[in-house]
Amino acid sequence: MKKSWLIVDDSRVIRGIARGILRDLGFETDEAEDGKQALEACIKRMPDAVLLDWNMPVMNGIEFLRELRAMPGGTTPKVFFCTTENDMSHITQALETGADEFIMKPFDAEILSSKLALQGLA
């Protein structure tokens, strides 16, 4: 069975790029435009992994991650932040909140697939 990704980003363009790369790598994908939509998606079906933007309307990435990790089954998905917020304080905060990996935008297929390999998902 294909592993599932939830792509959480308010940019339709970024979601499209990520969708293309992840599907090419053999994954199933679902999408959300903000943290609140993403939490609703996780309640319906917990994904195997989440690609997560930081700055989004309604609920940002770090708030989503905090709530996800507190949900039943919410510690299971691998969470990859994928953001332009790439200073050390954001990286540290993401890791402390429970992110597994951190991708700095802009990214490409090589970066994403090498990060997946690090988490045993490639």
């Binding site: 790439n86 050390m88 540290t92 990996e101 700095m104 090589e110 970066i111 090498s114 390999a117 690090l118």
Partner: protein, 280 residues
């Protein structure tokens, strides 16, 4: 590219670096040497070669060799190799060297430095096991430019993300305007120096571990054999040689034998141990 130009460049590269360039790799000459030609004020690669042939031009020759021998590298390239290093090879050598508490590692073609820094990060993560040890890491490359890049330890946004876990980036790198730089204490742990594998290896001393991954594939058979023989003389009798996952010594040299169960990892053959025992 004219035949005589290709022949001239192939000979130059073979003589100066051991690089064997088959005709089907002509496109590499075209793509990598066009910028070198421009940099030296020539309209084309043909024109640059004509100028070099007309007289000594060591700077252009050096830049040609550097451009053709520079290869892509990234952190923890082939993760399985580094897992084996950490989980199997390192513990065995730690036990074997418990008396001397000394370990020497050579990165024989370090390119832009990601391989030695990957190993340095592993050693740092395992530092509790190295208390009081003297661990020496020597990283060499034929390219002066690559050695300088390695010493600088500065990687672009893309390089810093390829293969490097974010936890290690956060721990061992500083963010700068141009990219991510390896922290000074880590950079200072590795001795970077230019070195041509075709030269005598004896000045380097004896190593417990040699990394020479994805290098021999660019040499012809006699050069591979020669380099492996030189390396065997610089290796402790229970040392370990890392080649690329698809590289082998079988049919190339009897100085090394495959490490049981690990693709791309080799140990000195019995013949080498016997040579040492009789003082050869």
């Amino acid at each position: 590219m004219k035949d005589d130009v290709f022949t001239f460049l192939a000979k130059l590269l073979r003589d100066q670096s051991g690089l064997a360039l088959p005709r089907d790799k002509e496109y590499l000459l075209e793509s990598r040497l066009a910028p070198v030609a421009r940099q030296h004020g020539h309209q084309s690669i043909d024109a640059m070669c004509a100028a070099i042939r007309g007289g000594q031009n060591r700077a252009a020759e050096r830049d040609i060799v550097e451009a053709m021998t520079t290869n892509e590298s990234f952190f923890f390239r082939d993760t399985a190799t580094f897992d084996t290093f950490r989980k199997s090879i390192l513990p065995t050598l730690l036990t074997a060297r418990a008396g001397s508490k000394s370990l020497r590692i050579w990165f024989a073609a370090c390119s832009s430095g990601q391989e030695p820094y990957s190993v340095a990060m592993i050693l740092e993560e395992e530092r509790a096991r190295f208390a009081g040890w003297n661990v020496e890491m020597v990283a060499t490359d034929i390219s002066n430019e690559m050695i300088q890049r390695s010493r600088n330890g500065l990687y672009t946004h893309f390089e810093a993300q390829r293969g490097l876990p974010i936890q290690l980036l956060a721990k061992y790198f500083d963010k700068e305007e141009q990219g991510w730089r390896v922290k000074a204490p880590m950079r200072e742990r590795i001795k970077f120096r230019p070195f041509n594998l075709l030269e005598s290896h004896s000045s380097l001393g004896v190593f417990d571990i040699i990394f020479c991954r994805n290098v021999l594939i660019y040499f012809d058979l006699p050069t591979k054999r020669d380099v492996l023989e030189r390396m065997s003389r610089q290796m402790a009798r229970d040392g370990v040689l890392f080649l690329g996952g698809a590289e082998t010594v079988i049919g190339v040299s009897d100085r090394f034998a495959p490490h049981p169960g690990h693709a791309g990892i080799f140990v000195p053959a019995q013949a080498v141990a016997l040579d040492r025992a009789v003082g050869q």
